[in-house]
């Protein structure tokens, strides 16, 4: 799945496609709910945004553009996402930072086997609990394949392409 997406070279797609209001609204709500689950510290819900046989990958743009498989994080099924949440919850009693995703408009680029291919730019602001300062933690884009099992939107694949080659923490929370 990730190879197909990678090879389809989404960055060569420049014109997004028109969809009905119902589809657009469903996708927009899905994207916003995903971000809110993380930002509102409802991490346990994060894996529910994915199908069981999913891809979740965080990769630097420079690696993504060159087709390199490496990344900051790679999960190829939903169980790994659940494990990750459990790990975060067991290690971090107290969150030292708050995240805030602000998403740009989602560009729907096409369809593949019933899944919508979409890209969404994001900026994640991170606020330190200790000193209250806010800075940009990450800017980049989601490269997604969104399926609709039982008429519910779920991520088949989310590749988080970060503009930066270095993420300055252990990626405690997902992006």
């Amino acid at each position: 799945m990730s190879d197909v997406l990678q090879n389809s070279s989404s960055s060569s797609i420049v014109t997004s496609v028109a969809v009905s209001y119902e589809v657009k609204a469903q996708v927009d709500r899905f994207m916003a709910d995903y971000a809110a689950a993380i930002d509102n510290d409802r991490l346990e819900l994060w894996p529910d945004f994915f199908i069981d046989d999913c891809i979740y990958k965080v990769i630097a743009r420079s690696d993504y553009d060159k087709g390199r498989p490496v990344g900051f994080m790679y999960c190829d099924n939903r169980r790994m996402l659940l494990d990750r949440v459990a790990s975060i919850r067991s290690v971090n009693v107290f969150h030292p930072h708050h995240y805030r995703h602000v998403l740009g408009p989602t560009r729907i680029l096409g369809e593949r086997a019933g899944a919508l291919l979409a890209e969404t730019s994001f900026i994640v602001a991170r606020t330190s609990v200790a000193d209250g300062t806010t800075m940009i933690f990450s800017a980049g884009r989601y490269v997604d394949a969104i399926a609709f099992p039982n008429a519910t939107a779920k991520l088949e694949s989310r590749i988080v392409v970060t503009d930066s080659d270095s993420i300055d923490m252990l990626l405690v929370l997902p992006i």
Copy 2:
């Protein structure tokens, strides 16, 4: 009103609801117009976005999550908003900063007595007039109850929940 909202614990609501295009578009325009009134230095229009018997509150996330009533600012009627604008205009002949709100998508979470309950993430960038530098002034979310008197959107209640516990200025402009 604010107690009801606080107790309904909006952060426990994870799935936004579908609404018609007409309602969604009206809410989206309202949110964007609110931000533009502040960013474009049309502060006198700011109170018009609220009903007379409104709540406007700015509170840190850590206080909001614990149900504490304190905040950086608290107004419980539109007259207080008008007073605030008059005060800003009388004190500040020259604005030392420009604000720029960038809003994420609005999540409509439900309805209560004819008002829509909604949340919207924001990042406010602040540019210094003196040196031209831009930084993040505040990141957080709006927790809103939006009424529709005479078919016009108005805020019954806007709780500005800031991710930071400290706001580094005297909150001269509203968020």
Copy 3:
């Protein structure tokens, strides 16, 4: 064209107008595709977002508000945009920064001779390839006149109004 826009004093327009879903969706896709062309390093496509006889201008807010004609950049036809892209490509073999536009909702403010007048707030985050840090490069708003030749959205005029009086580089990439 730019004078008309300047004189119509868009900042005095406070209430955006309702449009059909088809129009709103077309404009939203257009805005997002424009940003993606720049952010995804597909600069050659940037001039295609404009009509031949276009205006593209980058100007500080303080100058724009006072009706001053000066700006950081001024192009009054599409050929100048093509020249600019050619110049960027010839000078910069390697991009030292990545851009990431995050756009707020587009406010449609009216119509003039078949073109929609619209404003959109933006934050452009810039990530250094050298050290991976991300900061806000520019915050501001687009003041646009969008035409629809052959049912395709194109910019008649885009005035990029930056909140900062100083842009700290030679504006290598367009905003």
